[in-house]
């Protein structure tokens, strides 16, 4: 479904992505882990079209999407949510999602209709139920709690019915209990929507529990990939990254 071939990206002297080759199978649930500055977000930026790779190919459904702009890539079915929730502060949750649904349906050039009477409201309501934002549907996005803002960011991506969803640290900045709630929700969405999901995560317990397969990034390069068992046992990972028995390892976000 998604394959990166020898992708590289440098910022001045900093090599953020160093000859990365990765593949994600259709319908899979994968995690990307790695220390701060390892280049995890950069990979998402390259896939989603926010950044253009210096070299290499990014194949989605067999077509090279490297260098296309973000709107084009979204239209092909890749949605994403951000490490710092990226939302529309002056719109309510419901309005934001209605607008996202309208964008997906290509209704946003319409000037003669009223937004409030749009049939997108129904679909927005479904997404609100799916993500559990019902209690705050009428609230301004700016007034939401941190966790709800992260959820809204994900919900916005879901409104586009993506086949591939990229979640950049969905649990960033949350307490332990909230983290598990969030990640269970993400897993439920993945199951319900039959999509391919890749998430970046710092909490090892979560990664080992949830992800079918794990990629470890370090200094922009892929250090290891495999199942939880394989990653736990990988000596490179233990040395370079975990540095301690995997059971208690948790890297500060």
């Amino acid at each position: 479904m998604l394959r990166l071939e020898n992708v590289a990206k440098a910022f001045g002297g900093v090599i953020a992505t160093d000859d990365v080759s990765l593949a994600f199978a259709p319908g899979s649930l994968s995690a990307i882990i790695g220390p701060n500055g390892a280049g995890k977000t950069t990979i998402f930026n390259l896939i989603s079209g926010k950044l253009r790779p210096d070299s290499g190919r990014i194949l989605f459904d067999g077509e090279n999407i490297a260098g296309l702009d973000e709107t084009e890539i979204v239209r092909r079915g890749i949605g994403r949510a951000f490490q710092v929730a990226s939302i529309f502060p002056s719109l309510t949750v419901e309005e934001s999602l209605m607008a996202a649904v309208q964008s997906h349906r290509r209704q946003t050039l319409r000037m003669a209709e009223r937004f409030r009477h749009s049939n997108a409201r129904q679909r927005a309501g479904e997404i609100i139920d799916m993500t559990g934002l019902g209690a705050v549907a009428r609230d301004l996005s700016a007034n939401l709690s941190h966790g709800d803002q992260k959820l809204l960011d994900i919900a916005l991506a879901l409104a586009l019915e993506p086949r591939l969803l990229l979640l950049d640290e969905p649990t960033a900045g949350m307490g332990p209990e909230e983290r598990w709630q969030m990640i269970e929700r993400v897993r439920a969405l993945w199951q319900a929507e039959h999509m391919t999901l890749v998430f970046i995560e710092h909490d090892m317990d979560i990664v080992f529990e949830i992800a079918q397969s794990i990629r470890v990034l370090c200094y922009g390069a892929v250090l290891a990939e495999g199942t939880a068992e394989e990653i736990r046992a990988n000596p490179d990972v233990i040395e370079a990254y975990l540095g301690a028995p995997a059971e208690d390892a948790e890297v500060a976000p």
Partner: protein
């Protein structure tokens, strides 16, 4: 039953028109009529600029370019050999021509300006306005240079409307201002209008929802420029000519002041601002030469005292009260 938005807005517009007509009949004072006419003209101008500033989040400094373009295209056409005292089609056609011409100009200028970000966008719009200003001054044989379009033009009667009559001119300006406001109201309450709010809040996120940011900015720029030209046309009809000051950068500051005075978050804020501005202008200039000083003081009061335009301030009061009473009911 709750009426749907567009119908409610149209009833409101009709009500305003009736009120303005009543005002004309009941208050037989040219001074008052003049303030209303100017408020109507500048409401169109300020509302159109607020599409860019308040809804899209792009601060255009050169909006008067389109006001002037509308005025000059209209004035030149009305002075042309094609228009005689009996050309009933001339004024409607001239209005259309001026708006189409300004739309083309806005399409070209907008295509370049929206490539630039933030403050550079603002400066570019200003630069284009100054180019237009210089062109108007330089093209003396056509525009009359710094004299402006002199010599007047006929105002042929159309559909029973005789704009040489003060009362007809008053109603015409009121009607067009209300129609223009209704059009803009519809746009900002449409799916397209909500995209504008999204682009103001967070254009990067909007792009990841599949929205072509520049396309929406460009369309809005063209729309705003076209509507600003309608204000220019009315000003040209009022003054029977067109003058280069209308293309000078200071002219762009006027709708900006109105938006600041009236508020940019409430749809009708700029209309309120236009009214305050015109009243101040009329009253203060009648009594003192220090118009700029008074205007500056008033703007400081709104900016520092209320921290927003008057319209936004009132709207906030109303919604706070509604919320309070909602809580009391619950």
């Amino acid at each position: 039953m709750r009426r749907s938005g567009p119908i409610r807005d149209m009833i409101f517009g009709l009500g305003v028109f009736v009120l303005l007509a009543l005002l004309y009949v009941l208050v037989d004072d040219a001074f008052v009529h003049d303030i209303i006419i100017k408020t109507c003209i500048f409401s169109i101008f300020a509302l159109s600029l607020n599409l860019l500033i308040g809804y899209l989040g792009l601060v255009a400094f050169g909006h008067a370019a389109f006001f002037a373009a509308g005025a000059y295209v209209f004035g030149l056409f009305m002075q042309s050999e094609y228009v005689g005292p009996d050309s009933a089609w001339a004024i409607p056609f001239g209005v259309l021509l001026a708006m189409v011409g300004s739309a083309v100009l806005a399409a070209a200028i907008g295509a370049i300006c929206i490539r630039a970000k933030a403050i550079y966008f603002s400066f570019l719009t200003l630069a284009f306005q100054m180019i237009l200003y210089s062109a108007i001054l330089a093209a003396v044989p056509i525009t009359g240079g710094d004299q402006g379009l002199m010599g007047g033009f006929p105002k042929p009667v159309f559909l029973g409307i005789d704009l040489a009559e003060a009362s007809h001119m008053y109603m015409f300006c009121a009607a067009l201002a209300i129609i223009a406001a209704l059009i803009m109201r519809q746009v900002v309450e449409s799916p397209f209008g909500y995209v504008l709010r999204m682009l103001r809040d967070n254009p990067d996120r909007a792009a990841f929802l599949g929205l072509k940011v520049k396309l929406y900015q460009w369309i809005t720029f063209v729309l705003a420029g076209t509507l600003a030209s309608l204000a220019g046309v009315l000003q040209s009809l009022l003054d029977i000519g067109a003058f280069p000051e209308w293309a000078f950068w200071a002219k762009s500051a006027e709708p900006l002041f109105m938006i600041l005075l009236g508020g940019m978050q409430t749809f009708l804020g700029p209309v309120l601002g236009a009214f305050i501005f015109e009243v101040l202008n009329a009253v203060v200039t009648a009594h003192t030469r220090y118009y700029g000083l008074v205007l500056g003081a008033v703007i400081l009061f709104f900016a520092l005292g209320l921290r927003r335009g008057l319209g936004d301030y009132i709207w906030q009061l109303v919604s706070d009260r509604r919320e309070a009473s909602g809580r009391a009911d619950a």
